[in-house]
């Protein structure tokens, strides 16, 4: 039984984030792996010793602070899972929680988990953009909707072809170390990117999963159309900048 932990599903739930676990759970089932989604939040006992996968989604800035404070109190539990190589996916501002600090728009600096050394500054403006990013030469699509910039990332997850990076127009996005994947892309990242879903499914299964078994023609079609349409935009918007 593979246990897929969804942490803070009630607080970090702004962008249909739960869909990532639904699609991962289905992919594992189709590949023949028994699995279940386990939800844990503020009031729950925090134990990740049997975790086969850990996920946290995006939340309001205030929710993120509450989740982060709780996560920091359970620092060792989380770090232990990370060190053991449990696959961990963080989307949206969940990424910020593993850094050294998050400074709110109120100017207050709050300690993060300190797993990574980057720091986050929240601002008064929301930064919103469609994204095309690459990882190992493969393209991914998505969307960013954040009110912060992250500085000092030494292990980026993605290269940005179109859209925002960790800070401003930076060409690097996200953070990765061991089996931890953090990105500011929001929402159903695994629904939108079948190749990334395959990678996460294999990691959770601890064995390479056959792409044919988990293929969903509608998800493939959605990815193809999104990439095609965003690429067209990337082309025209680059031209208009010259």
């Amino acid at each position: 039984m593979i246990r897929l932990y969804h942490l803070y599903p009630d607080l970090m739930d702004l962008y249909g984030d739960y869909a990532n676990l639904l699609i991962l759970s289905r992919a594992l089932s189709r590949a023949g792996y028994e699995n279940e989604i386990v939800k844990r939040s503020l009031i729950d006992r925090f134990d990740l010793s049997d975790a086969g996968f850990v996920y946290i989604g995006s939340g309001r800035e205030s929710s993120q602070k509450r989740a982060m404070e709780h996560l920091c109190r359970n620092r060792e539990t989380f770090l232990d899972a990370f060190r053991r190589g449990v696959p961990i996916l963080l989307t949206g501002n969940a990424m910020e929680m593993i850094g050294k600090s998050v400074t709110g728009k109120d100017g207050v600096r709050r300690e993060g988990l300190g797993l990574a050394s980057f720091e986050t500054d929240e601002g008064e403006k929301r930064l919103v953009s469609d994204e095309i990013v690459t990882r190992n030469g493969e393209k991914l699509v998505g969307f960013i909707n954040k009110a912060s910039e992250i500085k000092g990332v030494d292990r980026p997850l993605f290269h940005v072809e179109f859209g925002l990076g960790n800070a401003g127009e930076e060409k690097e996005e996200g953070y990765t170390e061991k089996n931890l994947f953090a990105t500011h892309l929001i929402g159903p990242v695994l629904v939108k990117n079948p190749a990334f879903l395959l990678e996460m499914t294999s990691l959770a299964a601890k064995a390479p999963v056959d792409a044919g078994k988990i293929r969903d023609r509608y998800a493939d079609e959605a990815f193809r159309i999104t990439l095609e349409e965003l690429s067209k935009r990337a082309e025209t918007e680059t031209k208009s900048n010259i």
């Binding site: 205030s62 909707n145 929402g187 159903p188 965003l230």
Partner: protein, 444 residues
């Protein structure tokens, strides 16, 4: 002198706009360029009523305008829906004398949530109505708490607030101030304390973060809330919705000792709240209850949210919703699912943004598409550029696969609908996509 030039510019601009048949906020834009402080220099009418919130602004404003006009007042309001500061400036300057005095008795403003703070830094509303705050176009507005922070600055200078008592976030505008009037809905048959939506924005107290409880909910996070941790709770409404009869299309409003029955053109709880908000605002502006009720009898929205059509020998209704606004979709889904007859439902998501293709589709996962599992919904067709991701979303609804078809082309979707035995169709889509379908059918 600057003031005079600004007013003149606005008037000339508006005149030119009328000649070419275009209403826009350009005149206000130029006037503000000529004199950025112009709005603070105008003599305003005794009533300045602002309306803001995520949903229902336009219909609430339309209703207030009608009630006040029926009561013999001269009302200036932004009917063109230009609800940012330039639009408001166009409205005000268009309705004032060259000396800078507004000719109307009431200035009624639909205000964009994000821009209220700019508009109302120049003058104060006498009444500020906030309908609700929930997830609406997060790409443009940010999440509700973000919108609250932005709107707070605009709301705080108003003399009197008219607030939705059932919305915990909206109610927070009254914290630390006086002179608030509340409107809310009584418990309805079937209303439950638990949320039955995909997400629950009423889970935590917006004041202290504690876990909230509800005595009952009307929809999503809107209901009789209370926080056991900090005692933040729903205020007793001054204007209350009694029975909402969706089948008969009527509602009852109680105000103190009085009670009025009012018909609804397109019955829904969301519409009922808008009517209630309009009633409260008009009553606060001094119109007697019976007069308001009478005005609302004949009210027909100009918004054309529901369009009837024929497609071959099939008949249908297009229910205009709003992309990136799950509540508006939930509203349309409820209509289709509640129909006593068998129906087909077409959902079109073709262009989320009018400007460009966007991959922001997380809101599909906030919509309660699960409700379309209702047995009267015989067929579901998904169409438009985003049909693939819609189909993935629907594959998690538990609706039997054989009831669902997904095609990119809207023409093909229309052909499919024609081929079904089910003669009644509901088309659910955004106003920005609706003509792509309406061009294929016969409008009625």
């Amino acid at each position: 002198m600057r003031k005079f030039i600004a007013i003149l510019l606005a008037k000339l601009g508006r005149f030119a706009g009328k000649l070419v048949g275009k209403g826009s906020s350009k005149p206000g834009y130029y006037a503000l360029k000529a004199d950025p402080k112009i709005l603070g220099k105008i003599k305003l009418p005794p009533y300045v009523i602002a309306v803001s919130g995520s949903n229902g602004k336009t219909s609430t404003v339309e209703m207030i305008a009608k009630i006040l006009a029926d009561a013999g007042l001269r009302v200036a309001y932004n009917k063109e829906g230009s609800n940012q500061i330039e639009g408001v400036a166009t409205l005000i300057l268009g309705e004032c004398t060259l000396g800078g005095k507004m000719k109307s008795d009431v200035l009624l403003i639909e205000s964009d949530e994000r821009f209220a703070r700019y508009t109302f830094s120049h003058f104060r509303p006498t009444h500020f109505v906030v309908t609700n705050l929930y997830r609406d176009q997060l790409t443009r507005n940010g999440h509700p708490e973000w919108v609250f922070d932005a709107l707070k600055e605009g709301v705080k200078h108003a003399e009197k607030l008219i607030l939705n008592a059932d919305d915990p976030l909206v109610s927070l505008f009254a914290e630390g101030r006086e002179n608030t009037v509340w409107f809310g809905c009584a418990k309805q048959p079937g209303s439950k304390p638990e949320s039955d939506s995909v997400y629950d924005d009423g889970r935590f107290c917006p004041r202290c973060g504690g876990k909230m409880r509800y005595d009952y909910r009307i929809y999503n996070h809107v209901g009789a809330f209370r926080c056991p941790v900090c005692d933040y709770a729903r205020h007793a409404p001054d204007y209350e919705l009694g029975k909402i009869d969706l089948a008969a299309g009527s509602l009852v409003i109680r105000a103190g000792e009085e009670s009025f029955e009012i018909p609804m053109e397109n019955p829904s709880v969301y519409a009922a709240y808008n009517i209630l908000a309009a009633f409260a605002a008009a009553r606060e502006a001094g119109v007697p209850g019976e007069k308001i009720a009478r005005s609302l009898q004949g009210f027909a929205s100009h918004m054309g949210r529901i369009v009837s059509f024929a497609l071959g020998d099939h008949e249908g209704k297009l229910l205009t919703s709003k992309h990136e606004n799950s509540v508006s979709y939930d509203q349309s889904i409820a209509v289709a699912a509640a129909d006593p007859e068998d129906v087909s439902v077409l959902v079109i998501v073709d262009a989320v943004s009018r400007k460009y293709f966007t991959s922001e589709t997380s809101w599909f996962w906030d919509i309660d598409f699960e409700k379309l599992a209702s047995p009267n919904v015989r067929h579901i067709v998904l169409a438009g550029t985003h049909y693939g991701e819609l189909a993935v979303r629907f594959s998690f609804t538990g609706i039997p696969e054989e009831r669902i078809a997904a095609v990119r082309s809207i023409e093909e979707a229309a052909e499919l609908l024609k081929s079904y035995d089910t003669k009644k169709i509901y088309t659910i889509t955004c106003f920005s996509d609706k003509d792509k379908f309406l061009n294929l059918v016969e409008r009625k």
